[in-house]
Symmetry: C2
Subunit: 159 residues, 2 copies
């Protein structure tokens, strides 16, 4: 299984980078993992809804260009479906069972992901009803993908 994680906006927080790297390295034992950073559109704090949507639309174009062909697309959003760790493992395993060999997870900017991209995704996924900084969400999701592979492969990690 090939997993791609596309996230919008970089971070200067070293601890997030190191934590994400650690789980990316571990996922490598189970599958082909790649993370792709997409440039975030700059917005003022009090931007209008129209400006926010324009920024999301520009980010959508860059995200779409980075999605590997034939991927099942999973958009991370707070209104998405909440799955347990076992539920995410089942989703990934089921994709494999259907002959899908590439899954692409997308974490948007602090303003989220465009409605049109969410509309065409295979799954809208929520990790929490709480709002987390998107770089912490990246660490959380990378850990969950690693955890999913340990569940699928019966490894001693998940409790």
């Amino acid at each position: 299984m090939r997993i791609t994680l596309i996230y919008v906006g970089s971070t200067s927080d070293k601890f997030y980078l190191e934590a994400a790297c650690e789980y990316e390295k571990r996922i490598g034992a189970f599958g082909d993992f790649k993370s792709v950073c997409i440039k975030e559109e700059r917005l003022e704090n009090e931007s209008s809804q129209a400006l926010i949507e324009k920024a999301l639309s520009l980010e959508e174009q860059r995200i779409k260009a980075a999605i590997p062909k034939g991927s099942a697309v999973v958009c991370m959003c707070i209104e998405g479906k909440e799955l347990s760790s076992e539920g995410l493992a089942k989703y990934i395993d089921d994709c494999g069972g259907k002959g899908i060999s590439s899954i692409c997870f997308i974490i948007g900017s602090s303003h989220g992901i465009s409605q049109s991209l969410k509309a065409v995704s295979s799954l809208k996924l929520s990790m929490s009803q709480m709002t987390f900084p998107h770089m912490l969400a990246r660490v959380m999701l990378t850990e969950q993908i690693y955890r999913a592979f340990t569940i699928i492969n019966g490894k001693n990690y998940h409790k």
Copy 2:
């Protein structure tokens, strides 16, 4: 408001320590925050339910000794109530309104928190239906407490 975060078991992962420290420092601008590490009972991977319960009971004694008197106790557990970030802010703010000046959050070991401690808590709180390593849960919770204070104080952080 005085906030205490009791967590069971330490970590050698530097990135988790650094991330938790960063949010602890930021919370300091709003209230008195203290985190307390409780020794985790060692258990083999295939321990019986009886041995797990004994360990949880020993950890409970240490946790109880560390809870500041008069605190509202919040136990983190996957079956708890899911709140949004605004919901957690409201809970903290409401405690203040009721004259409660100390809230104590508890993150158990990888086996969780004893049933008897959960039974006497003011709130059982879940951040996700997913299972996270407890040191990542500590970072997530510390960030949410910081976020709650920025919401209560109308600061420009939460989106």
